[in-house]
């Protein structure tokens, strides 16, 4: 469930680990490096921006909507599209600006891949 600051960041971190492994498997070395950098950055942002006074329940998001399917000929484009949608959906739900900005930056990178 994507119902808290931590669950959203945990999902994003796991998603980037999956993307990194996938990019490595298909030989997309630079994108694998990008994904790992995003993963590390998200871990840091989670650590530095978990703000006790603004921890609030989050609703309206369903983890099942963002499950990566990395099989098939269109898998890369589909996965990047899904990651973009995930970051676009979750960023507005986060009430700490620096953490929100990190998620928006991930979205921008996927947007650039898909352009």
């Amino acid at each position: 469930m994507l119902n808290s600051f931590g669950s959203i960041f945990a999902f994003a971190i796991a998603l980037e680990a999956q993307m990194r492994d996938y990019y490595q498997a298909i030989g997309a070395v630079e994108r694998a490096k990008d994904a790992d950098k995003r993963r590390q950055n998200l871990e840091r942002v989670r650590r530095e921006n978990v703000t006790e006074i603004k921890l609030e329940p989050i609703d309206g998001l369903d983890e099942a909507d963002y499950v990566l399917n990395l099989d098939g000929a269109e898998s890369q484009r589909n996965a990047e599209g899904l990651a973009l949608r995930f970051y676009q959906d979750v960023a507005p739900k986060i009430n700490v600006r620096e953490a929100q900005r990190a998620l928006e930056r991930c979205a921008k990178q996927y947007e650039a891949y898909l352009a």
Binding site: S4, R46, R47, I53, P57
Partner: protein, 483 residues
């Protein structure tokens, strides 16, 4: 055999010779994680004597060098961040995010302590008389101690220890016997820092150890966080033995909501305030005072949001509310809810019989709402320290302020409104140490002092911020003339 928590005295880990031990229980799984010794007075004496012996050398270590230990401690805490958070969840029962938030706040206190070379400086005035200059210098005092609670087992010790030692004092910490493991981990990191022997010391135990600290002639000051009855004893005992003291007690925090508040955003924040850490924090919102027409929409939204909170084991990222600390706490909270009903409140949402799959024996109390609460009821006056919201309806803003100011506690109070005038009036008149405007958890950050008023705080100087520099140092005046 269950692991026994060790003590850290004079730079070494030592087994206690305690005759009794308190089980440290994971409140969600009921697993016994360790046993915490009830340290005898002699062990407290060893710790204090080690700290006392270390003081004269430690205060001569340049303040810039002392601050370097804090930079290294921050790095270690960042590196172990997730491990520490998980350990807090295991022994305390809060959610992972709440534990992360606690570690973050603790790190902020370490960062504050790293600024001691700047903020500990004294001041000087030339020519107070012809050719005579006057200087005020801050000097450390000796051995300080802290007696800390279960609800923030990492953050609260870090409110005190870093600033105390960076200002040149030495330290003895006695954490809650219910949650000694986070503190033990903190001391593992302090051990890695390679501080001189005796600068920091850890003793475990309950009342006897606490009294031994307060009565010890070589302890110059004590910080305490806990309940009001104990805070009062700490204040009186320390005063009797001539010590500095800051004793933070219990709370009954009111949140007033005006009809002009942004209801959706307000309720989301109120959820975090009332049900965060399962209501076990001294800044938790407890009584929601709905003013006039705010009542009906607020009640509906609170009920909807509270009913959908996901209660579970804190290590599950999707858990939004964890356990209370113990079965004794759970029973006490149940009794308070019963009493509220007996005194005339209506049970709008009952969390007493909640079952969490896989953790059937855990000490869970679900989100609870009592409606129709009146100021004279016990649930409106006394601290519940659990996930229980008391909803009160008052006709106007004036009555809201009147009700809030009748409380004998004064830790925090919040107002949700879009009116700047009402906000200023609230801030100006409400007798609480921490005021939130559209913020339900009015928690002072590390560079601001933290403490309540009335029965929520006993002492003069608050914890954190520049108050902590005042608390941990004395000002010595030098008047000089060169002939």
């Amino acid at each position: 055999m269950t692991r026994r928590v060790k003590q850290y005295i004079n730079g070494s880990w030592v087994e206690s010779n305690a005759s009794t031990y308190t089980p440290v229980i994971n409140p969600a799984t009921c697993e016994v994680l360790a046993e915490c010794p009830d340290a005898p007075v002699s062990e407290v004496d060893q710790a204090v004597k080690a700290a006392s012996a270390a003081f004269e050398d430690w205060r001569r270590i340049p303040v810039l060098s002392r601050a370097q230990y804090m930079f290294r401690l921050k790095t270690m805490l960042e590196e172990r961040f997730e491990d520490i958070a998980a350990l807090i969840v295991s022994e305390n029962g809060k959610t992972r995010d709440e534990a992360r938030g606690e570690v973050r706040r603790g790190i902020e206190s370490v960062e504050f302590a790293a600024s001691v070379p700047t903020i500990m400086r004294g001041y000087r005035l030339e020519d107070v008389s012809s050719g005579i200059d006057e200087t005020a210098e801050r000097q450390p005092l000796g051995v300080f101690a802290a007696i800390t609670p279960f609800n923030f087992p990492m953050m609260v010790p870090l409110w005190f220890l870093p600033t105390a030692i960076t200002t040149g004092n030495t330290f003895v910490l006695k954490p809650s016997p219910q949650t000694p493991l986070s503190t033990e981990l903190l001391f593992e990191l302090l051990d890695e820092l390679d501080l001189p022997e005796g600068v920091v010391n850890l003793v475990n135990g309950g009342k006897d150890a606490a009294m031994a600290i307060m009565e010890h002639a070589e302890v110059v000051g004590v910080s305490f966080v806990g309940s009001t009855p104990v805070a009062r004893i700490v204040y009186e005992t320390c005063a009797k033995y001539g010590k500095r003291v800051q004793a933070q007690g219990g709370a009954k925090n009111y949140i007033a909501v005006l009809p002009d508040a942004n209801m959706e955003a307000s309720v989301a924040n109120i959820m975090g305030s009332v049900y965060g850490c399962a209501g076990q924090r001294c800044l938790a919102g407890s009584v929601i005072v709905a003013v006039g027409e705010a009542y009906e929409p607020l009640k509906a939204e609170l009920l909807k949001r509270a009913s959908s909170l996901r209660v579970g084991y804190g290590l599950d990222e999707s858990t939004q509310m964890g356990t209370v600390i113990s079965s004794a706490a759970k029973e006490r909270i149940h009794r308070m809810v019963d009493q509220g009903v007996q005194e005339g409140a209506q049970l709008l949402l009952d969390g007493r019989n909640i079952k969490v799959e896989g953790y059937e024996d855990g000490t869970f109390v679900g989100p609870t709402i009592l409606d129709g609460v009146q100021p004279q009821m016990t649930v409106a006056r006394e601290e519940i320290f659990g996930p229980v919201m008391s909803l009160m309806h008052v006709p106007d803003f004036e009555t809201a302020i009147e009700v809030i100011n009748k409380s004998h506690y004064g830790n925090a109070a919040s107002l949700f409104t879009s009116s700047g005038k009402a906000a200023r009036e609230f801030k100006y008149r409400v007798r609480a140490g921490n005021i939130g405007i559209n913020v339900g958890v009015a928690a002072a950050t590390a560079s601001f002092p933290f403490g309540g008023q009335r029965d929520s705080f006993f002492g003069d100087l608050h914890g954190q911020g520049l108050d902590s520099i005042e608390f941990y140092t004395d000002k010595k005046i030098l008047i000089e003339r060169w002939l």
